[in-house]
Symmetry: D2
């Protein structure tokens, strides 16, 4: 950690900071510059240290040096993590595809759809049973009935079930049915939920919060990892910016960035990431070219009558075309699909 002193900091203030740094178990090294003095604090940087030193008198700013996450870091664990749930494997050579409707609507619907998705190469089935909705007046999901419908689709196809969990008290129930627990963007910093999913040991698909930095995203993963659950997938699903021609802005540079900083596999969600069905296919291809380990895509037999998210949902026919095209891109970057 580097403590930058103000240009008019007094020797007493510099001394005081040095003693504070020692008090935290670090070794201070004072560097007298042309205009300002800086103090390097040598040792293990702990969370909260920046906050602790910044308010002291004479301090201009405190610059952390080390990444704040540990277990998620590629420095601690060099080999890449592969998260597995049935035939779904995310993080290996093959790009995985998780597909399905925004909300599970009926058993008939989900089973028929799952068969089509499996036939085109999906290995995971997404579908919401507990739905977080911006408005209290929107459809909130079929809850446990929805989970049973997903289980029926799995019984038929073997696809791994990926479904969202919205509250710690639902983890146990949803774990009975699901293969992968999805944590939604709006819950990325719901720490009780992260810990409950960590305790469950179930594979987790953690969506990036719509205004989360990379450090915050990896620290959210850290909450799960820290409970002894190593099976975390990071999912880029778009961020909120000033752009208004898409629902969110999908920043694909986060894929190679995360893969460099962390050993965890990276999933991309071009459905939420764009909010427009027409943009899903090009962004799926782009995500694979950027190195994504998996895609998660909203597919519905009749997007116009989907109970949620119709505007960003594609049909099974469009999904079939997309898979064929994505397979070619995957091969061009030496991966399967």
């Amino acid at each position: 950690m580097i403590v930058v002193m103000k240009t008019d900091a007094t020797p007493a203030q510099i001394d005081h900071l040095s003693r504070e740094i020692e008090g935290f178990g670090l070794k201070p090294q004072v560097i007298v510059g042309t205009h300002q003095t800086v103090i390097a604090a040598i040792g293990e940087e702990r969370a909260g240290l920046v906050e602790a030193l910044e308010p002291a008198e004479g301090v201009e700013k405190v610059l952390p040096i080390m990444a704040p996450y540990k277990r998620a870091s590629s420095e601690l664990k060099r080999e890449r993590t592969v998260v597995k749930a049935r035939d779904l494997a995310v993080g290996g050579n093959r790009v995985a595809v998780i597909a399905g409707p925004c909300s599970v609507e009926s058993e008939e619907q989900i089973v028929a759809l799952a068969i089509k998705l499996k036939a085109k190469g999906a290995t995971g089935l997404r579908g919401g049973a507990f739905k977080p909705r911006t408005s209290p007046y929107s459809f909130q999901g079929h809850k446990e009935d929805g989970l049973k419908m997903l289980a029926a689709a799995r019984a038929e196809t073997g696809l791994a079930i990926v479904t969202e969990v919205m509250a710690p008290e639902h983890v146990e129930l949803i774990s009975k049915y699901a293969d992968v627990l999805q944590i939604g963007a709006r819950n990325m910093q719901n720490y009780q939920l992260l810990q409950a999913v960590g305790d469950s040991g179930k594979p987790a698909l953690l969506k990036r919060g719509m205004s989360a930095t990379m450090d915050e995203f990896l620290l959210a993963a850290e909450y799960i990892l820290d409970r002894g659950n190593p099976n975390v997938m990071l999912c880029e699903r778009g961020i909120r910016t000033f752009e208004d021609h898409t629902r969110f802005t999908l920043p694909l540079a986060s894929v190679p960035y995360l893969q460099d900083k962390s050993h965890l596999p990276v999933v991309v969600d071009p459905s939420h990431g764009t909010g427009k069905s027409k943009l899903v296919e090009p962004m799926c291809k782009a995500a694979i070219a950027a190195g994504a380990d998996a895609l998660i895509i909203e597919v519905h037999d009749d997007p116009e009558h989907a109970m949620s998210d119709g505007a960003q949902t594609i049909t099974p026919a469009a999904f079939a075309t997309l898979m064929a095209k994505c397979r070619r891109v995957a091969e061009a970057v030496d991966r399967g699909l």
Copy 2:
């Protein structure tokens, strides 16, 4: 609702949309423009309707007309809501001040501080017992012990206790001690939590999510109101933007905007909104001048040794000065403090 058809939409597509709109119980009115046809859908706009109509063929975009929130809207309830908890009243003529440390650290600390804050005019005492922290390695709060310390401070001073609740399962416990349940920015769309706070009937201080639009913010309030709890305060605490000289960007135009659209009172948090103690006083004055109904401010006896958020915390001495200055600004806009 206005459905804008593409320039090359066919008569069959326009017909189809009209029937869809009727199917939702609205009356379609087709307007043939110079380049494009638009269809006005007359009747009650329900949540999910935009989503339902947007994916249909021939549709360019769907424009909602009505605000998506109802109970929070000033159109339904014209007189302004005043939320009361002990001597704390937010929404009336007097600007209320809630102050206290980021985290409750010890009974001695909180009682001594509460006495000082009360003496300078605070009517609410803030203090975290359950702390949401970005890193799992940061101090997470004293939990129920912290609540007891807050209760001791209330017993001494009569200040209303404002403290954060992070999970639905904590609502009952925290309600035993707190006068106001705070919902943090990261939980603004934790719907289970909103509903649990709604069910509790306790006054709620709802912080704006760091990337929430005004509609999303008011819809989050709607989740609480919809459970029959009318005691909701809206708290602007800053948004995430590209700015890096402050921790967040504090957009005060949201104060008069929210007061125009909603009958709910508006609180401003300049401590989180700027992240810098030096900027707290000017932004408190600005918030009052913009019409804020209350302020929530982080104060600590020794910010340098606070267990969290030291950089944005002010001392009791600075708080005393701030109160004197804010009182003059409040009077200049015909309010007390």
Copy 3:
């Protein structure tokens, strides 16, 4: 255009608006809704109309229906524009590559580099002679001498010269040497400059402003097109968001979006778009997979000693690898490179 009246708008206000709309040469059609009246204004939407109607009493908001740009729109011109300058052709089946240093430093440097770039498949040579720099104390470019160095590199290789023009009064001089005039992100709304480049008739590479919406970007192109210069390339170079792990956020969904709304070709700049040399290759591949018509890439023999932008610059060796990999991705989306 749709004028949404307030819920308490009076008949007199509605009448007034209708007459205003007629005054602008449009036909008003009043639609009485359940809660609110809206007025559809039928006819040609002109710039400034929204602004003109919004302040009238009783108006809640004004919603434009038509795109504000005309000549850039794919509705007016269906076949795609191909911009050509020597062997550089942007917009056809083959993905074009423009490469070179941030700043031209010496004739020797630029000629030697151009030979290497040409050998690997580049058809355009980028290089700054007039440099817009955030600080007045940074290197500002070799100016006309730099242009002569670029011309020498073209004489040797035949590569088309792409270089930035920063002011209207430089257009004539730079046009003597350059094949393509680049308009930088910071000048996207420098209208005098856009018009001067429009008047020159030279192919233009227009960079997206770092906080420009798609409509603003296409309207900036409209300024050039409106002067009778059809040779405009749109360049996505990243936007400013809260993200801090990259220099900018590169939103590739703008590629298919722009290609849908406009007939103009789309170039992507992954060097500025990420600011990190390590992320250039994955984002080049992603851009091609998303459908980009061209790439513009910063290459320097010795990035560590480049006079500007070293951190995002790659070496000729890295460029050779990148070209080989990008060629495979281009083929996977049925394009050449």
Copy 4:
């Protein structure tokens, strides 16, 4: 400057960096940390140094210590700058008010309006003669005729004329009529223009770019100051964020921040900053409470028929009320108006 080396940086890389730092005339000091080595570079930090060192092998990141601006910094010049033009004085105890229409429309209009504004306490008259417009089809201003109309209004009232200059070649012409040259947000990084305004010696009102950081804003001012023109006013006019209920987000914390870092006076533009006439008065009061040295406000006799920006323009009657209210707030912070 602090160079942070990667955890696996080799001694040779650390040596190499040390020599590079010496090559730039600074003194390297190597600090061996628990996980990483950092090198402090002692001496004058020049522009371009970060860029130069970052691409070197073994470097994780480079952290600058000193502010990149010099002449704008309050460290170099402690007493606050007061910019004067006729009766307009910005930066002293009295809060100045510059008011007027977005565009100058006719001599009759501007003279009549100027008389009203002066009567209520304005000391500056704003009005656009050369208008930068997003669309080439919008009204572009009356140009020199508009300047003459402004001069007529000054002859009648003595108000200082503040008008925008859009291109370096217009500086001479506009300087003949105007008292203050305004540089618009879209031109904040038009360096030719900044230099031309610097050379003119005329007082300059520099608007913040809609996505400019504070450092970039102050560096733009530096371009003017560096030409020997000390008369620069910094104008906060709102930034672009995800917020869509206002035209821009007006971040008032920039007022005390800029006043701390710089000696230049700070102006706030609540008209562009909110885009809504209804929000202008509360944000004017808030700006004064936050410490603004001046306000710039759009006023028009008939906003509904203004040739531009009607939605954010207030009437002379509203201006009179606003001035009375703002005067009270100014007094509450010990300033006049």
